[in-house]
Amino acid sequence: MPDWLLVILRAIGLLITVFAILKWLGKRQLSELTLFEYIIGIVLGSIAAEITISPNQNMTNGLIGMAVWFIVPFIVILLSMKSHAIRNITQGKGTVFIKDGKVLEDNLKKEKYTADELLEKLRRKSLFNTADVEFAVLETDGSLSVLPKKDKQPITLSDLGVKQSTKEPQTVLMDGEILNEPLATAGRSVAWLETELDKLGVSIENVFLGQVDAMGQLTVDLYDDKLTVPSPQEKPLLLAEMKKCQADLELFALQTDNTEAKKMFEKNSKRLQSVIDKATSVLQN
């Protein structure tokens, strides 16, 4: 067999082997590899390269070497999935850099980090002032996870006391075709979809994307971008009507001379107001 043919055959064979081995070791991005996995990758690659281009080399030796470098890490990974202690050795532990708003200089030194590098990592998290940081950990992959102080954290709906739950919208129309499975998941029928499209005044062929949200409202995007489709108006309209009725009831309460009727109107206007308060979060788009 000529040398060049041997190289081609070995290259193809090893390419498949290395690919299979790396797939087997797990699905991870390059940046998420631990030091251990990183070294395994390099060594396996070098062995493969070495056997590929030197035809004089004994193929078996190379394969044995690769097998060892594959089997041992594989066992270690299996063990580390079972045991926390082994995981600490192979993957390392995060190092706390900032605790209770104070920088832990000893830990910085241990990980060979300078103050400048710490500041740089914090800046990458948009934290320019160390005083804003409550807690920060250097993760095993070298990234810094930061917990800002409570008053520096972005506001969330629960901070505002708004209860809002969402469900994922279902895509029911794509490229002018009805997708039956998502439509069923959303609990709608084809007839319903056709009625909704009629209401919007568009034909199915003209729809590029159509989605149903958790409240059963349909939004569509058309091929023809010059056409504007009305956004769902039902909820805001309902809210506006409720507000109008509440105002009306107050007005009646003021106008009537009958004390009993006055009381009734006042009570009901208050009731309606409480309904509005409760339903606003749900009815706002």
């Binding site: 009725c245 309904v275 749900v282």
Partner: protein, 68 residues
């Protein structure tokens, strides 16, 4: 517009709100939202009841307000 027709108008708005809320509640998949909507529709239903009673009183007091 007399008070009678105004109150009747308000009643029909209330009815339409109740129907709107109920229909939203039926179509909503999320349980929490559904509960809020159903509860709201219930309260609106009570208001509707009170309004109907008031309209009956109005019609008895002022005969010309009778009918739609």
């Amino acid at each position: 517009m007399t008070i009678g027709t105004q109150v009747k108008q308000c009643l029909s708005s209330i009815k339409s709100i109740e129907a709107g809320l109920s229909s939203l509640a039926i179509r909503t998949q999320d349980k929490e939202t559904k509960a809020i909507l159903e509860e709201s529709a219930g309260t609106i239903g009570e208001i509707k009841h009170d309004m109907k009673a008031r309209i009956k009183d109005l019609e008895r007091e002022e005969d010309q307000y009778k009918g739609f």
